[in-house]
């Protein structure tokens, strides 16, 4: 987070006191291997992650929560923990490898949680709402979850693998208006942006176009990789397709910071490739007139057939 996701880190540090979140960085963490390491050496990939888990367990002060802001880091930590729990043989092998570095990890010792999960489910929407001083009224946002936070979801932390609602609820708590769109958990292209840009550009265009069609002023992400692909590669994608999409992509922590009244600069806003300033200018002081409250399904019969409800 120190580098390419600098704005994510800055905004998180800026809001942590507001949401009563005490963070402690694992000293001397190593890379989780993303999806690449697993492709080359399976056991070593788990050992790589195992080192982080073991370091976390050894360094943790009064907590067993281990949080990650990145989808891949989160998934790898959760995966190694879950697979070591399920597979005694793997647990054994990984621990033998860790022993070579004087470490050991008992699976389950750390509860691996994504940052969004902690904010939504532990801190809670009400606590977040209570800290809001500048609600994001008038801002239409597309919550984008990507793949690896909600899938495969080893410990059933989310309401859906396909159409989750946690971040939408969080953004609504901040006063913004989450738009309904179908691409919430579609792939951002992952590493294809490097190894097969044509594939990635197609996926990025679809996401950006879909968000724009749904009426979103900006896309909100929970992962540095997704942010990078949608933001930095949006510019490349525009060149590739000769298009001119200008959909800014921010982290949910940055929007939390704005709603909590922090200065945009302290939240790393301005470091994005697609300028977020025009979108953020839409934030109004007043809450927009809410469309009439939802009533029990009793539409007037016209020609149209009634729509089935979501519940």
């Amino acid at each position: 987070m120190q580098r390419n996701a600098r704005p994510y880190l800055d905004s998180l540090l800026a809001i942590r006191e507001d949401i009563d979140l005490e963070l402690q960085e694992i000293e001397d963490w190593n890379c989780c291997g993303a999806t690449e390491y697993m492709s080359v050496h399976r056991v070593a990939a788990h050992a790589l992650v195992g080192r982080n888990l073991a370091l976390a367990r050894d360094q943790a002060r009064d907590t067993d929560l281990l949080t990650a802001g990145c989808s891949a880091c989160y998934l790898n930590l959760a995966k190694t923990d879950a697979q070591m729990r399920e597979d005694a043989g793997l647990k054994d092998t990984v621990n033998q490898a860790l022993a070579a570095g004087g470490l050991e990890y008992e699976p389950g010792a750390m509860k691996v949680r994504h940052l969004l999960d902690l904010v939504c489910h532990d801190i809670g929407y009400d606590a977040v709402k209570a800290r809001v001083v500048k609600p994001l009224h008038g801002l239409k946002v597309a919550a984008y979850y990507g793949c690896q936070v909600v899938r495969p979801d080893y410990d059933s932390r989310w309401d859906s693998h396909e159409h989750p609602t946690a971040m939408d609820k969080l953004l609504a708590a901040l006063g913004a208006e989450p738009v309904e769109w179908s691409l919430k958990t579609q792939c951002c292209g992952g590493h294809m942006s490097v190894i097969g840009p044509d594939v990635a550009f197609g996926l990025i265009r679809r996401l950006i176009h879909g968000a724009q069609e749904a009426g979103a002023d900006l896309v909100v992400t929970l992962c540095p990789m997704c942010q990078l692909n949608l933001d930095a590669y949006q510019v490349e994608m525009n060149k590739h397709f000769h298009t001119d999409y200008q959909v800014p992509v921010l982290y949910f922590t940055q929007l939390m910071g704005l709603a909590f009244g922090k200065k945009p600069k302290d939240l790393g806003i301005g470091k994005e490739f697609v300028d977020a300033a025009p979108a953020l200018a839409k934030i109004q002081a007043e809450a927009p007139k809410v469309a009439e409250a939802k009533r029990k399904r009793r539409p007037k019969p016209g020609d149209a057939l009634p729509m089935p409800g979501m519940e």
């Binding site: 396909e162 309904e180 179908s182 679809r206 176009h209 009793r298 016209g302 057939l305 089935p308």
Partner: protein, 628 residues
């Protein structure tokens, strides 16, 4: 000479006093061999079966160990049978009245068969009318007869038959007793319409100002009033008032009352103060035909049901195709006007998928083929069926598939991955126009990923057990399998009966079935019940507990143990007594009695101790510790 005759011959020639048959599980042939003994003049309960097929031959591969186990089982059974006492079966009279639960096609068929034979039937239906799911259908496969045309006469016969006593808008609350002698408590929900006075003229429905979406009969694509008929051909032909939407009830019993005002009967048929009623029925047998629930397609968010307007369920399409339905039989998009030009039908929605239901819903392939045919016939649209396997094993079913192929319906072999309203790229968008839904699928036969643009999607949602099947099962004392369908006595040889004597299952309550199979099961269940009724009485296993008064110390440990209230304490003599009619023979009290005063016929301590000894006769006890 057949095996049974051999045994009979041996009993006579060798003057046998006990018989052990080492063969299959007693659940299969215990009755058979007891019959052999009885025919030979032996008490049938002096025979036992040793199960060396299901429990040995079919499950073990090590022949030496399996043979040793088989010998041990035989030895245990021989030791046990020596301790068997001659018993008399318990004879119970069979009440000639029958309870049928569920007024769908299976239940109607069962009730009519029993009634036609001249016996009284109580037909209980939870909804306000008979008919079940079949009443919602448009055409029936493979012949395409109109469902209403073949169902309505049956409903009318059941409604009019002097021997069929109809309880609609009612549920069974409690069942007590045992085969031949059940006492059933039925809850009649208030209809707020007096059944005896109402003539079914319909003025109340006409005058009611409240229009709401009809989620039940019209599957959510049509409307009804707050006071309404379940549907046009409802039996009984009486409206029912929905207090959740009626202005009078919502407003805290004030206002409106239009139905009452315009009701022409004297006295007035509208009864706002009608209360729930309870009726007690005495019956000898029970047929459960409680049907199924539709899989909730919202559980698969990637198919978009509830989110994307033009994604429909198969049940919505049934109502849409029906001439009496909300669109008058026109197949249209959610806007109610536009006929679709491209329609995708997705098979196996919620079926054959470990994330939802593992079972095949059995009817959706044929139903989807029927839908494809009807949509093609009515709109001329291009129709795509997305399937994993096409299953058409019924009579004339595959011929129907051939017909649909001939219609020019497209078949894509692949489980649909997702349905999206968002085009992949601008080219796709401009090719297909706004409002297109994209069905993304791997065409497994072509070996490529495809995105097929359509205007309308029909999801073939599967059949699920009723959401309350496990509670209903408990009420009637029968079990559900792990996936929720009622368990039959034997999957092949006795698919109608259950483990509980006198309780039978027909139709989809036991698993997904098409209409012919449901009707057959309704008839079969009736035949079983009529058989019992004609016998007049039934022989039950004489497995019962009884107290040896001279041994009973009056400690009362057993008193709280019986869930059937068969155990009572006689204050005068300070002993416990067991009512044989109420006792079900579980033996829990036998095991609990510290004085050994409770006897369990058929499973006595002596029998079980002997069996344990016999089972362990071959055990080498050399591992006993040496005494140092």
């Amino acid at each position: 000479m057949a095996g049974q005759e051999l045994i009979e011959q041996d009993i006579h020639e060798q003057q046998l006093t006990r018989v052990v048959v080492a063969a299959c599980s007693p659940h299969l042939h215990e009755k058979t061999f007891r019959g052999v003994c009885e025919r030979s003049g032996m008490n049938p309960y002096l025979s036992e079966m040793a199960s060396i097929r299901e429990h040995v031959a079919w499950v073990h591969t090590d022949k030496v160990a399996a043979t040793a186990k088989a010998k041990a089982i035989v030895s245990g059974t021989v030791e046990r049978v020596l301790k068997n006492d001659p018993l008399e079966a318990i004879r119970v009279p069979i009440d000639a009245q029958t309870l049928v639960v569920g007024g769908g096609i299976a239940g109607i068929q069962a009730a009519l068969e029993v009634a036609e034979a001249g016996y009284d039937v109580y037909l209980i239906e939870r909804e306000a009318s008979l008919g079940g799911h079949m009443a919602q259908f448009d055409k029936t496969f493979p012949t395409l007869d109109c469902a209403a045309c073949i169902l309505t006469p049956k409903m009318a016969s059941a409604g009019a038959h002097p021997k069929v006593h109809l309880f609609t808008w009612s549920e069974v609350e409690k069942v007590e007793g045992f085969v031949g002698n059940y006492t059933v408590t039925v809850k009649k929900k208030p209809r707020y319409v007096d059944e005896d006075i109402c003539t079914g003229c319909g003025i109340c429905v006409e005058k009611c100002p409240v229009l709401v979406v009809d989620d039940k009969f019209e599957a959510g694509i049509g409307y009804r009033k707050a006071i309404y008929w379940p549907f046009a051909q409802a039996v009984p032909n009486l409206p029912v008032l929905d207090t959740e939407t009626c202005t009078y009830y919502i407003g805290g019993k004030g206002g409106c009352r239009a139905c009452e005002k315009f009701c022409p009967t004297v006295p007035n048929s509208i009864k706002f103060d009608q209360k729930e009623e309870r009726v007690t029925l005495k019956v000898g047998n029970i047929i459960l035909a409680t049907g199924w629930d539709l899989f909730n397609a919202r559980r698969i968010p990637q198919y978009g049901y509830g989110r994307l307007a033009n994604v429909f369920t198969n049940l919505e399409l049934e109502r849409m195709c029906n001439a009496a339905g909300p669109t008058g039989g026109k197949v249209v998009l959610r806007d109610g006007q536009t006929a679709p030009k491209r329609v995708g039908i997705v098979h196996c929605v919620g079926s054959r998928d470990r994330n939802y239901n593992r079972h095949c819903s059995a009817i959706c392939c044929m139903q989807s083929l029927k839908t494809a045919h009807l949509v093609k016939e009515r709109t001329g649209a291009e129709v795509y069926n997305f399937y994993i396997d096409i299953r058409t094993p019924g009579k004339e079913y595959d011929e129907f598939y051939q017909r649909v192929l001939d219609d020019g319906v497209h078949f894509v072999r692949g489980k649909v991955a997702e349905i999206s309203d968002i085009p992949f790229d601008p080219a796709e968008a401009s090719r297909n126009g706004a409002g297109t839904l994209y069905i993304q699928v791997e065409d497994t036969l072509a070996g490529m990923q495809r995105r097929i643009p359509v205007d309308m999607v029909v999801l073939a949602a599967g059949l699920e057990p009723r959401r309350d099947s496990s509670e209903v099962g408990k009420t009637f004392g029968i079990a559900c399998s792990s996936n929720g369908w009622f368990i039959e006595k034997h999957a092949k040889m006795d698919p109608i009966a259950t483990m509980t004597e006198g309780v039978f299952v027909a139709g989809c309550a036991g698993g997904p079935k098409d209409i012919p199979a449901s009707v057959s099961q309704g008839s079969a269940a009736a035949a079983r019940v009529l058989n019992y009724i004609r016998q007049g009485e039934l022989a039950l296993e004489p497995v019962r507990a009884s107290v040896l008064e001279e041994r009973c110390s009056g400690c009362r440990i057993c008193n709280g143990l019986c869930p059937f209230n068969a155990i009572s304490f006689i204050e005068e003599r300070k002993v416990t007594e067991i009512n044989a009619a109420l006792c079900q023979g579980c033996g829990t009290c036998v095991a609990a009695c510290p004085a050994g005063a409770i006897q369990g016929t058929g499973f006595s301590n002596e029998q079980l101790f002997a069996q344990i000894e016999g089972l362990l006769r071959d055990v080498n006890r050399s591992h006993e510790p040496e005494v140092v």
